[in-house]
Amino acid sequence: MVSRIEVGFLPGVRDALGEKTRRRILHDLHLSVERVETIEVYTLEGNLTDDLLERVAAGPFSDPVIQRYAIDGSLADRFDWLIEVGFRPGVTDNVGRTATEAVQLLMEGTQKNGVKVYTSRQYLLTGILERGQVEEIASGLLANDLIQRFEIVDGRTWRPGKSIQPYVPRVVVADAPRTDYVDLPDDDARLQEISSRRVLALTVEEMRIIRNYLQDETVRRGRREAGLGEGITDVELECLAQTWSEHCKHKIFNSFITYEDERGNIRVIDSLFKSCVKGSTAAIREELGPEDWCLSVFVDNAGIIKFNEDYNLVFKVETHNSPSALDPYGGALTGIVGVNRDPFGAGKGAKLIFNTDVFCFASPFHEGPLPPRILHPRRIYEGVREGVEHGGNKSGIPTVNGCLVFDERFLGKPLVYCGTGGIMPARILGEPSHIKEVHPGDIVIMTGGRIGKDGIHGATFSSEELNENSPVTAVQIGDPITQKRMTDFLLVARDRGLYRAITDNGAGGLSSSVGEMASLSGGCEIDLKNAPLKYAGLHPWEILISEAQERMTLAVYPEKIEAFQALAIKMGVEATVLGRFTDSGKFHVRYGGQTVAFLDMEFLHEGLPQMKLKARWTPPINPEPDFPEPSNLGQALKDLLGRLNICSKEAIVRQYDHEVQGGSVVKPLVGIAEDGPGDAAVLRPLLESFEGIVVSNGICPRYSDIDTYAMAACAIDEAVRNAVAVGAPLSRMAGLDNFCWCDPVESEKTPDGQYKLAQLVRANEALYEYTRIYGVPCISGKDSMKNDYMIGGTKISIPPTLLFSVIARMEDVRKAVTMDAKKPGDLVYVLGETRRELGGSEWYALNGFVGNGVPRVDARRARSRYEALSRAMDAGLIASCHDCADGGLGIALAETAFAGGFGMAVDLSRVPSSGIDRNDELLFSESQSRFVVTVAPAAREAFEAIMADSETACIGCITGDRTFVVTGLQGAAIMEEDLASLKEAWQQTLRDL
């Protein structure tokens, strides 16, 4: 039986969602609609009496003060157009899940098991619109065709009282679950065809390796004894494809590279990951010796470092780019709740204490045609923003820091970086918490959500460019509440010592989570028929690789399995025994007792040969800019302040809870009106202590147009500099590297692969160099190598992008410094030398140039400056400190002034600089490692003494009026701007989005 309950607002009650939708129709689609009303629709399936429907509608489904409802009838009365949007079958419906539980609570006995509620939403539009325009509103704004369906009703055909036919998006699976054998022929073309058709993303060479493995006599005998027939099963093939995917295996980062520089010199690199990323960390740890505070690096889901004697910190940043391109909301939501599970599944599991997000988009004001399958950047912006809002806020994790980067090339794929930090006791029941062990005999448990067809081929799909065959099934929608229930439960189980090890189910699903844990014991035996499913009919291979969210895999002590399961039941979380870990050397999978996969652990994890690649560096030569210094530099400053990469992000920041958990110290918005741009977050993870954590990010993809070596150096410097600016010492700072690249493997699709790989090599070499000199070890990282779009003749590749994220320990948060000017009379200092480094700058971009003089980082001088500044902060000598980055000194000075609410008068001729004779270049050069600092007059002497060995100059002072006055190099006033107009220029760009 199917029923429909509609819930709408009583007349006269404001419909905030309807109003917001009306504004977005106007803003995004430039269509004027008089009014939008919304109606929530619940479609109920099951044996429900009229009395029960009435109690459900009047109880949990509606609010008697402001809402009304209709059962099996319609609330819609007068409208011009009606659009109803619901989910397609199998798509995660979080509200439907909660509604189902709410109905079940009102029922007794076993009938409740047959109940299922699906949700949809009606939009009633009033206004003069053509059907085509209504279709545009439905498909271009309200519904994403991949996951949702919609229905349009013309108001002229509607009579009140009429009802809409209920639609039940039930998953109907026709086939019985089965396992097929796949024949791997001796024919390369057919091997390639099998790989493409099944979205395996395996190369012909990799397919051949699998075929050869199966021909080995020992392997054949073992498989026969396990009950397998000839050929490989689809379960095995899919499992190998996931495990061997670029996404999981990082084949390019581990490849053997022959690099040729611009002078023809050749050198070889045996794995960028080992030599550059891990290499630097190993060297730093060795130098630290007994003082080493790194605990677990590169081996677990997240990096683990010491916080103090009693606690450890855990940090990880991930990307979720490809799914966010197809479904921005679901992709980003899955991105944030997915990365939450990384620190949660590191060591014995950490409590999650902060999120940090960085998004790279094309301009939301993009005009012009969009290539097929590409959503408008504004829709991506809003969808990603909302997905991360729901994922972060509903999980109760503060979003403490982040940034937005804009470039037209992110049209092909947006970058959605989501990061999460956690804290865990250093020891749990006496055992070190950062060590992960699995013993033979431990029980394999899957807990949390159920398995559906969602997220199938996520790992392999993101190992390819976005193309016309990119599968819809790769899209998932996260469920933060199911995950919160699970994490609440697992933290209790952890503290009671009920499990030995934990890991996340992310990319590759069970094949990766069980596979990786099994490598710690030496094998496993699981039966997929035990796995709880969202709906019947999944094939064993689908169960194994589904990336359905909110699941963790655990190794539970056999003697504690009952206690573990009893706790799960009590706390309302599903926990299922899938099998046990062994030391058989085999990845052994059954379905209902029948073996469906029997692979050697060694082959699964080590069977892939190292890729061999070529890289060749030719420095690009861009036209040298030739525009004159503008006569109105005040206007130039305002134009820069309003640029997407510089302007205020307050509208987005406010929608993220940045202070839940109670430890917020430096918030993302600071200053007199609480709207200035904070450089980094400071928080207290333990409320009874003043020890703190600093979190910051650095990212500057524009510099990749000149040299990725400089790009990486600048990203690292920016992250470190931001952390230093609020009070973090270099000595307790760790980093995470997140590379997002365009495909760097030379092929027919990528003729410039050698150049792109050379860009990757150079970025890694910078990473090695700068992290070593700063003494900031990378503790974990990630790479996403196929950020291209290719359909038809159109190819869009992202600019190579490194996000460098920093986590640091601060001894006493009460010494933290913010960027806003504090008092009239305070002295304004510039720290660091300004050089003619405008290549890739915002100023050049505003004038239509890239240029060539990219900023170069002098790490040794920067390091001594950072250390001196930290000493000055420790001594309490700094009133404000602001990082100098995009848009240069002009922007940093203006922001310091308007965030503080005070005027400023500075003289450019006093700025430490070399090679610059133009005011615009001095104001807007993006030389690195610089700060704008204000100091109270009384602290002047002590401050200057500490900074004596660094390029430091007092260039002016904070004033009591509200003007921003700049004296130029020639001694004349070049700018006198009202603070309010500068702030307005900075705030207006994204305010209404």
């Binding site: 905030a16 109880g59 709410a102 609570l105 509440i481 609440d488 806003d820």
Partner: protein, 274 residues
């Protein structure tokens, strides 16, 4: 005078401010503070009867999926404690009947309103007369707000309090009364404990962003007629130390945050009355 003040902070299914709320109770002098998962109440392991001060913290219980706190209200009203005929709601009514204190913040306030515990005219708990609904902006927002208390309110939590500055972090915080009579009675009986106001704490503010959600008469928090049940949208547990204040690096502030006094008043009251 009571020897040991016992406070409970309920969590589970999406609650997320339980740690700082428990910390506030401890700082306020509560002798025992337990963070209790709702499953421990439903299994009968923990009993509300053993406590004096119930804290309903903020969060997104059930994801706000059917409207904030709706599904949780349904749970408390209908699920029975294991092995008994008693619902959690029954033990809540008993707790209230004994004159004990309940503080609901944000999602906890939404729950109290939707269970009909607030404003609870004539002790008629169970009938919902006001609601908390979507902010006029249609957005979730995190921002600090100025709050003006009603000095004549019977609320035991705000005794002696002047204006306070606290953060709101919600998408559904607009208070809407069922009708004008309800609103009038709220004012007449001084049950409007806090109103959003200007920075001098003088005048209630109806304009955004000082009134962050468009709340009727700028109402930010209300109590019942005895003043022992109190709910508010802003988060007092988010301002326990000076460093929580968004302008602490530029203003001279007392080390103790303004939110703490609300908890201290509760503990002092319990110690005196029980």
């Amino acid at each position: 005078m009571l020897q040991r003040v016992r406070s409970m902070v309920i969590t589970g299914n999406g609650t997320n401010c339980e740690w700082e709320m428990a910390h506030a109770c401890r700082l306020a002098g509560s002798d025992e503070v337990d963070i209790v998962h709702i499953s421990e109440l439903l299994s009968g392991e923990k009993r509300l009867d053993d406590y004096h001060f119930l804290n309903l913290p903020g969060g997104f219980v059930d994801g706000d999926d059917l409207g904030s706190a709706k599904a949780n209200a349904n749970r408390l009203l209908h699920v029975r404690v294991r092995g008994t005929e008693e619902r959690l709601y029954d033990s809540l009514l008993r707790f209230i009947g004994e004159g004990k204190l309940i503080l609901g913040v944000c999602n906890g306030f939404q729950l109290m309103v939707k269970l009909g515990l607030l404003p609870g005219f004539d002790g008629g708990y169970g009938t919902q007369t006001v609601t908390l609904t979507y902010n006029d902006s249609g957005k979730f927002e995190d921002r600090w707000v100025y709050l003006k208390p009603d000095a004549a309110s019977p609320c035991v939590f705000t005794l002696g309090l002047d204006g306070v500055y606290l953060p709101v972090r919600h998408g559904e915080g607009k208070l809407v009364p069922g009708d004008k009579a309800v609103l009038k009675r709220l004012h007449d009986q001084n049950q409007v404990v806090f109103q959003y106001c200007d920075e001098s704490f003088q005048e209630p503010e109806m304009t955004y962003p000082r009134n962050p959600n468009g709340s009727t008469d700028a109402i930010a928090g209300i109590c019942n007629e005895t003043g022992r049940l109190f709910g508010l949208m802003p988060h007092p547990e988010a301002y326990l130390h000076a460093t929580n204040h968004p302008r602490w690096t530029r203003e001279t502030l007392p080390e103790e945050g303004q939110g703490l006094q609300i908890f201290r008043n509760a503990v002092t009251f319990i110690r005196r009355e029980f």
